[in-house]
Symmetry: D2
């Protein structure tokens, strides 16, 4: 049976690690905030006093951190401190589930490869709900071997596991998807409001577009217009779900990627500006479908 | 058994009328271009010498014309000539399948209503392929009574028949859908190219996004990247399908609608400008998924 | 000495007509709202009881109306009533100072030309301030002869008089200018805020860009950032000036024009959507430089 | 009399250094490409064999390099090699004229400040023409003392020298300006083409907008429509001037800055995407006013 070191126990990391514990995996946890480890140790996880301590002897390391600089710090070391890549055994499988810039992911993967260590970037989607339920989607970048090895651990925490390509490909695929999602959300919002402004019932219009060529995920699962679907954020004052601030973060990552590859993303770039305007007005904590409110005022 | 007058036998009207003939309906046809009627009369349709002549005594009138001015001319009359609304019996059901501006549709509907005649605006989607196969989608505006009556005739020519709302609602719903479609197409194109620019395989990326929150009709049915799907225009030099020039027409209608209702459509308006740029460079006859080519150059 | 008929005495028309009166011109006024004529008759204008009555015997007709349908109604007639073109003498010079769609302007001009009457479209810029001060800018469309004749009257009400081209060209040139103005305003706003977000003093940044390649009218005369310039709307809670709702009207006219000529205006179309969002939130009566407030929130 | 070390002798650096030589300044030059130093030494400059060698004993160091990583490498050192900040005397004035990301500029400035050395970021505008003529514009960031000291040297190479604020402010002000410039250029292009599409003469329309509220630098100095102005790139097949690829670089820097400060720049972001599309089609070496060609096709 494997031992997993889990580094980073925030809103996502905590329930993810808990699912490993519940599945009978030996889990050693570490977080800079000791309180974050309390519930997990109550449930049977072992508490480490440092990231390196958690990783020592583990078969698999899973990390879930906020940004590229944290991931680089963890694996490559920082301020004179060694990183995991300096201390773990060659057989250790490293899985980073953070959503970070592709450049950082590739940089860590490159160093890992130079040491013969498998490193898989495996950003998730599905939110805290999916993390709790163990139904997350993982989009992985790495070698075929690394991906196959990672599946065993990831399948305990999620229900969809994709292999997007080589090192960094998981990050790229995720931000491509989330950039497209933001475009779907805004395009759907303005289309629905255009219909409403002409007297159409948004439920009827949604139903028509959903099964026509305008069909997309937001109409299927996440209608931004209040009271069209019962159990979505738009019908509950845009509470819960995927926050505007997180969408802005992901759109920033997609723009960074577009800058580095000299890519043109007119829709994605516009979506970012509209979301930033929305967030800066104080709506950063609302669900991202609240962008609908930028369109539905009566004036 | 009903008699149907069919006015306007272009690329769409001809196969639509033919399906009525084949179903055993008595069809009286009229088009300004006599040749357009030849094939239909060979198949058993009756040829009229004027629109009013075709409509005289018909139970149902179906029209399929290029633009609002033609529809207004047909039903309201022009240059001193009477329109159909001046001559048909009160019981005649009028169905206009043209894609036109909502204002013209509402104007004709209003005059019809003042005379107690049912008028249904029923723009189609599905292209010439759907017209031939009898699998078109009709998006209808009109009274409940008019809609119910229209179903019998429309179901011979199509497989999906929606009731979007009152007079003009069919046109609005259609252009909302097509505006959204253009946004899906461009958003998907730039997301795929961003992935490609970072070394991802577009087939793999498409597969991932299709079942994730970026999922949309273009990924399901109409991938814009060549050789990802076999039987779509992008894999055949963007031949066939739904022409750029027709998308520009529909985006123009959606912008007209947005102007009249003081609606904001940043994504739809941007899509129109990008499609116009594309069309003006000489790509107006290509399928609308060819917008992908604006992004995939290497520079 | 000429007699001028002045039709339409709103916020702009009233002070414009007054300047003619003060200059000693014999002015016959008409407005559907009798009160609008009171101040002018006190100052010496003659009151007419209809537009045709005002125009009868006048050498010059000046009209200042809200929209294309009013202008078409006035000159071409409506609901069975004759229009000015049915009643005025062939020598009468017609000058329409309204800002309307180019199509209406061309339509009226065409009928006028068919009767041998000179018609000049002469939309203004400069606001009520310029109307009172007699410093308006007139951008004219019409024949060389019509333009030369119109100058005498227009120069009493304004200080800049341009000849943009043939019939309708005045309207087109004005909306091209105002579309560009909206782009300058938003581009300047976001550039200033980007600097502010990085700690720059907006006054210093404005000063630098004004004399560099970012230089434009808004930096010269109308800085959107509060307290950079003393006597502009941004330094007075965005009161006065050119209202957001009027900018939205002009951007609508420019988009109508772009639709009719199959032109691509990505920046102008985006500007319209941003202004509509802004206006619908309740800011329609603020000066158009208040678009800056869409960017300057702290979040 | 001062001694100036000049590091980086590309298309801009070479003529800038030459102006110093011609003004009688003792100039020590260094470039990784020896040939780049040949002309300067012929004119009297002293050739150094390394950047540190050039800087040793110099009163002022001027650097002109392609990107942030080169500037960081030069001043902070790289791959175990010392940087200028490790070797120069405390009294040396450092002036970096490169256009780079604000973050790199601030990083170098911070290290310099910690050692008590004045560092001024002083990106230029004016192109190679301005470099040769000695009429460049310098936009500086740094302390008041550093700025005052830098003026003596900069005024030999340029005619406008601005102080935008503290460390990094020169870079920010420059990219704000250039982002705004790109918006002016595209907004002007689409406005001119809208007029042309309606039959207006672009020269007449330009003249009107130039003195109206659409007035901006591109209409004054750099009209994008061929044959409106004689001595600009648009009238010479878009040769010379400021290349599309360089505008894309600057727009990338402005978007990086917007990402780091969570700023919304809808116009600037759209401009970048349009320029990238244009550049990737093979127009990267044309002058940036060639964006007009994206709009002026007839279709």
């Amino acid at each position: 049976m494997n031992t997993v070191a889990f580094i980073g126990l925030g809103h996502m990391g905590q329930p993810m690690a808990l699912n490993l514990v519940k599945a009978g995996v030996t889990v050693k946890v570490f977080d800079l905030v000791p309180e974050a480890m309390a519930e997990l140790t109550e449930q049977g996880a072992l508490m480490a006093t440092s990231a390196c301590g958690a990783a020592a002897g583990a078969d698999v390391v899973v990390s879930m951190l906020p940004a590229g600089r944290h991931v680089r710090g963890l694996y490559l070391g920082q301020e004179g401190q060694p990183g995991l890549l300096d201390v773990v055994a060659k057989e250790t499988l490293l899985i980073d589930c953070s959503t970070i810039d592709a450049k950082s992911a590739s940089e860590v993967a490159k160093v890992a490869a130079s040491k013969g260590i498998e490193f898989v970037d495996a950003p998730v989607s599905g939110g805290t709900g999916g993390a709790v339920a163990g139904t997350l989607t993982f989009i992985c970048g790495g070698t075929d071997k690394g991906f196959e090895q990672a599946k065993a651990t990831l399948s305990i925490m999620g229900s969809h596991i994709f292999h997007a390509g080589g090192a960094g490909a998981g990050q790229i695929a995720k931000i491509c998807n989330n950039m497209l999602l933001s475009v779907l959300m805004i395009g759907t919002s303005e289309s629905l409001q255009l219909g409403i402004d002409h007297g159409l019932d948004p439920s009827v219009l949604s139903e028509i577009m959903k099964v026509s060529s305008g069909g997309n995920w937001t109409l299927e699962k996440y209608n931004p217009c209040p009271d069209v679907m019962p159990n979505v954020p738009s019908s509950h004052d845009y509470q819960g779900g995927f926050m505007v601030d997180l969408m802005i973060k992901d759109l920033g990552l997609s723009q960074e990627a577009a800058l580095s590859s000299n890519s043109s993303t007119p829709m994605g770039a516009l979506a970012r500006s509209l979301y930033v305007n929305h967030g800066r007005k104080g709506h950063g904590q609302l669900d991202f479908s609240s962008i609908f409110e930028e369109f539905n005022k009566k004036g």
